[in-house]
Symmetry: D2
Subunit: 467 residues, 4 copies
């Protein structure tokens, strides 16, 4: 493998610094390994054996070395062996069945706090202690996150690994508790090995190259924040990009236009959060997104006192798919013939460049979007849109909708170009969250609700007709 | 309260920096509180209510604020109210009994990984989630450690709080996992607010004042290392003091003699660990001492390549008490009349200053000590001495004994002046640990074992006589 | 020499860190020295030879090593050899006389910029280039400052060294230009090796020990700032201690009272600069004191927005000596018989503790002080008091006088207990400076000037009588 | 001006951070300016007036503000006004002619150290004090470097500015003394705003983009070092790029080949310095290049103990021009008809791609290069090549020559593709430097000297023939 291939390869998986650290650790391990008697070598010939050993009483004294060894063996093992290792954990490192049975019996004989605690302990899979011990070694946290990334990929086809993943996730949720994370600003003075991760992981609006990155970080009206964990020094776990403006943002194109005149930071009134991206697949399901937004708002309020409005400019990833289904469904409760007719223009290729046609589509499309957000629901009575669920649960309100707010191919494909703002009013977050979490209410601006006023009547009429 | 009293007071409980941080946080909370409607105030009138609220779905959105509120209320509450809060947690924040019963039923119907996991989750006390949420707030980790310190004090007289403490300890053990701690050297360039904690917390050989402290940190033949957690920046969790020498250390007096000529660091052959102290009462029972020693040995090997020997100079805290009991017990299996006679000199006040008398005592006392370490055992067949148990479990070996190694009042009182070395040979740690952990063997030097050679015979003889 | 003596010794001369650095450098030099042929050794047998060599063309390539060598030899040389070295510099490293004569001739033939520049260069003592080259080596700046400290001590009795010192001072003034210095706050989180220098160098109000130091740094109403140079990382060049209060400060005793209740920092209106101390004797005559005060005022205005008044609480070091001379001088133009009578109470031992006697002395003493500040002058028409000259030149105004403001033995001895405030009004500094620097005016408050109103008449009367 | 233009513009002149700092300073100045009376405004209406004022006694108290003001006015002034300012400095801020005359008279009356010192001081242009005072302000050092960049551009056509530049250079040489510079490694973890300067300033082998940059910094066999000044935090003053290899480097193409397999850093034997670039035009003529190389060699010896050889891979910028002149000169003492014939192949376009033709050219071209380095000389008997002069003066030796070592258009144009190694043997530097500096000897390897063996004869023959 030549140099540039090997480079590309390692970019995909780990940071420069961490890699250098690991290289060092591996060197030490190899020296250790060479100094060991063959008998020990014999004993420790696969990750499973090492894992058994690491959990044993004897393993305590040399825990760090054994953890190194296990990672080393696991990482250099072929995929089949990695799967075997996880299956070993699934099969043999669950709770001790006998002990659990005894704890159940004790609880039944005398329920109470002590019995419940004993039961809790007995029911704890031994994997959790194994994972904690693996974390003793230098770089352990990072390697565990990588290990889980592999586990998640395998889990899709190997349901027996679900409990193994539950243990990883349980511990990660505790270890990556927001109290342990540090929010740091990211700008053009940030080390390049961190910045390159922004290029790689930006999930919402692709960063094309370093010049594009610079345009998002360096101008006086741009900000970026990331969450970092003390053990993953060069790895932002999640980051959010922010534009400071005086106008409400109408489209991502205008926001990212390289020809615009930057807004002086000390006069900006509005902070627009236009992209939030996770970076670590191995931390999937560990929640810290909402904390990042709240911390970023706190930071910005102190740093730019003229700011009064905090708002996202967000994609609507489920809209086009939903609308296609409803348009295809003659019985759709959400669209009638007139609506469907009005929306036919969507099928014309390249309609956004035809001003007249676009004008005709504007109102029907915004109306359909209001239906999508406010009326269409999942079986659990939640909004269909995953981005909407995220922000509403945080306590934000659905604020405005922007026709042709994102005319990139991706934006057209997933939402016919629609973008929306979610508004974060610090003093309303708790109230809004409660409305959403306890009463399933989609908190939305009057402007958006008004779009349904006629529909409500129409809908009622239609419903009547149907019966 | 005048200034110096208030100072003394706060020294007892927290560090300057942390306090400043907390003061800031409290200011923000008060501003928040003032801006709240009275109804909310009404709702949140005691820590119990806040705790309930914090665990509710509604509490998610304002978790950080609520956590602040709870700490604030708890910390300013009188002791009785603090006890009431802990009892509330004990009574009302255990596992959900109904859910637990259902999980047990499910397990009995169909035991398996999924059922065990559900059982584990159902048996988890709701306190754990509460503690995790309290940790969301700035300074939360530190405040939780302080909260547990209070809990530990109350637990002694309130057995019902034992399960509450088990939850704190469980989470702290995960959060203060050695993989999350950082070992840092402590020297004369370390900030004063950290150094003053060494003076305060040194538990083995009192540091009298700043000059005394300097003599332990600054000379070229002294080192000190501490473990730090990222969230407790100014708080060493544990620290170890080291002397570099060319001689084996015979006494703590010689080691700490302010008139000695320092050993040039680049010729030293022996590192003597002469004091290990924990600093946080609230982290009692969370194990990290053995990791600190191993990290410190690694560091020293790199930093001072001439070092070949790593050894402690340790107190023997249980020796005098044990010996007094045996001497008073006519049936003692460990001492016979001759031994008792030989040890009578211990009763003379100030015998260490009477060279002749001391000479007479030397051999009998060292013999008794060998018995204490090698033969006397707890019901679980462990050595009686807690310091011995700690080092033997780490894989060290009992190496040498020093007559009148510590002639301070404390040293005389607890061990008739005896000190011992435990030897850390990196390549033997695992083997020794196994001998101790699995076979209850006290690994000791030939020199110390030889002291019992005659006794063995004597004992056997004596035993024969008895029967 | 035992350990504690050697410690004390080195405290006097250098900081821990710098010393460690130098130790390292010396080790490298010794290795270098050992690897050199004897011939070179022969050539370089004294600092003078090394200096010659260092300035030669050949010296360029190994300048760093030679500089190390010269420092090494100089620092370990006996005092007589150090004097010889400086005399060598005085005698042999001045400007090149012939070249200078040629430059003068050229100037006389054709005066102009080019000729003046050539003349300037020819007149530059070769010492300056030598000092610049010595600075190439690691730690060179620090060692040059130490070297000048020795030079200053010798200069007092060896006038021939004056030009050598002029070169050091010229370069230090350029290198320690305020633009290269960094003001940093000093508090209880500052490393101990810096803090100990505050104890050692405090020149105005002695810091007794670490507890005393803490009382000056840690309470919320105390601040301290120092100037640091990038090359002298652990060495504050000068520091100022500040008290935040709500009252004007009447006495240093009240300000430093350990029993006082601290003023909350966010309500303080007045910053009192009560001590300014230089630390490096080797930087004598390099001006940075006034910059430190101005930077500190800027910092405090940003940090504590409630502050409105910036004032010193200063000693009056020349007052008692001056007053004694005037009282002893029957022809004193400043005191008449009545005045002298009124001041006789000063001769009673311990008069400050006799309230009645003190009351009698108050007005006459304050009157005499007003005379001392406003009327008594040096031959150059400057105020007699050196502290007054410093602050007035900075643009401050003489603001208030405090009877028994400093009752320490030192305060009583040098000023009969008198202290004064100099007031820094940022907008008036330039105007005041001009009044003082260009018109010799002592800018003082109306209150102080009023004390002389009667005297003016009296003085005139007296003068008349004399003629 | 749109955003991207303004970006490009500011890239040319200053770094992000510094710019932000300056923006802040300017804001403060403007607030100050607004608060001033009109009279002062009147007084300070151009940089010349401000400069006069700044040097006056009155200017002392408000020096920092005035310096800010002067920079502000100067930087926003049109080019003609900037020229006028420099001419003002040239005309009015030289030495005081009368004082100088008096000092000359005094010297003639009584020459001696004191008189010489007075003369030196009198001959110092008042500009130097002005420049020192300008440096008092925040960011002053950076702005002075920028100011000199403008001065240097103007000096070419305005010889009267030469003395002004001499003063800047004199002070910069003192301020940027190697003792005040810090060498720092530059790698992929370095902040992006520093890295982008490498792309911009690389003067030897162009860095095309960020991927190219990464290939020079991140692989395990690459290193880069820069010199930084404490006042110019984000600005490397000079940087050197290094490749670690096991082979001697034959060509820059091979060294920078993106498809090569990286050499493991812990086995490399040779460090190749393949590019050294200055970044600050305003520091032209201030020497620090040789110090950087020596520091880098020290660093690498510690960091990569397997290294035994330190060598440059250098361009030969003057070779092609010299050769063209000699080939065109029938009387050239360096080339005869045969040589000229042998070199005719150089005129064929694209000859490097014609292997046969290249083979024919190899020996004659290398021979001509040996003549260029060893025999051709400037009137001062120095080698013609500026790069050779730099390394030989540092004490390096001309080591090897590489035919077609640089086939880039630039390499072909300036040197017909020739590259050379200069060898740095730490123990020989002083000796080599002396040979070069005192005896004009070009220290070269036997291999290169051997190429002239025949020529020497030939040359002598030819010389004979001529006579």
């Amino acid at each position: 493998m030549n140099y540039s291939d090997s480079m590309k390869d390692r970019y995909r998986t780990m940071s420069t610094t961490t890699e250098k650290l690991l290289r060092l650790i591996r060197g030490e391990w190899n020296r250790f390994r060479k100094s060991r008697a063959d008998t020990a070598e014999e004993l420790l010939r696969d990750p499973e054996t090492v894992a058994n050993f690491l959990l044993s009483r004897r393993g305590e004294a040399s825990g760090t070395m054994l953890a190194q060894r296990l990672f080393e063996d696991f990482e250099s093992a072929p995929p089949a062996a990695q799967l075997a290792f996880f299956e070993h954990l699934a099969r043999n490192f669950g709770p001790d069945g006998d002990a659990l049975q005894r704890a159940i019996d004790a609880w039944r004989a005398a329920p109470g706090d002590a019995a419940a605690l004993a039961l809790h302990n007995a029911a704890e899979p031994r994997r959790q202690e194994l994972i904690r011990r693996l974390n003793y070694s230098s770089g352990g946290t990072y390697r565990l996150v990588e290990m889980r990334e592999k586990l998640l990929a395998l889990k899709r086809e190997h349901a027996e690994l679900v409990p193994v993943d539950a243990d990883f996730r349980h511990l990660f949720t505790s270890w990556f508790n927001p109290g342990f994370l540090e929010m740091r600003p990211i700008d053009w003075r940030t080390p390049a090995n961190i910045l390159e991760k922004l290029i790689r992981y930006e999930a919402v609006h692709t960063i094309r190259d370093w010049d594009d990155l610079r345009r998002r970080l360096d101008p006086p009206d741009r900000r970026c924040f990331g969450f970092f964990h003390p053990q993953l020094v060069d790895e932002p776990l999640i980051f959010v990009e922010v534009a400071l403006t005086n106008d409400p943002a109408h489209s991502i194109q205008a926001l990212l236009d390289s020809g615009r005149t930057p807004t002086p930071a000390d006069t900006a009134t509005t902070a627009v959060f236009y992209s939030i991206s996770n970076t670590q697949k191995g931390l999937a399901g560990v929640p810290f997104g909402s904390f990042l937004l709240k911390h970023a708002i706190d930071w910005l309020r102190r740093d730019v006192p003229t700011l009064t409005t905090f708002v996202t400019l967000s994609p609507v990833p489920g809209f086009a798919r939903w609308l296609a289904a409803e348009r295809a469904n003659a019985d759709s409760p959400f669209t009638d013939g007139a609506t469907r007719g009005a929306l036919e223009g969507l099928d014309a290729p390249d309609w956004p460049h035809d001003a007249e046609r676009a004008d005709v589509l504007r109102e029907p499309l915004l109306h359909a979007a209001a239906v999508y957000f406010l009326q269409a629901k999942t079986p659990k009575n939640q909004p269909l849109d995953p981005v909407a669920r995220f922000h509403l649960r945080n306590g934000a309100a659905l604020h405005r909708m922007h026709f042709l707010g994102d005319t990139s191919p991706k934006g057209m494909k997933q939402a016919h170009g629609l973008m929306v703002n979610y508004l974060y009013v610090p003093d309303d977050l708790e109230k809004n969250h409660e409305a959403f979490a306890e009463h399933d209410e989609v908190v939305a601006s009057a402007e958006i609700k008004a779009r349904l006023a006629n529909t409500e009547n129409g809908k009622k009429r239609r419903v009547k007709v149907k019966h």
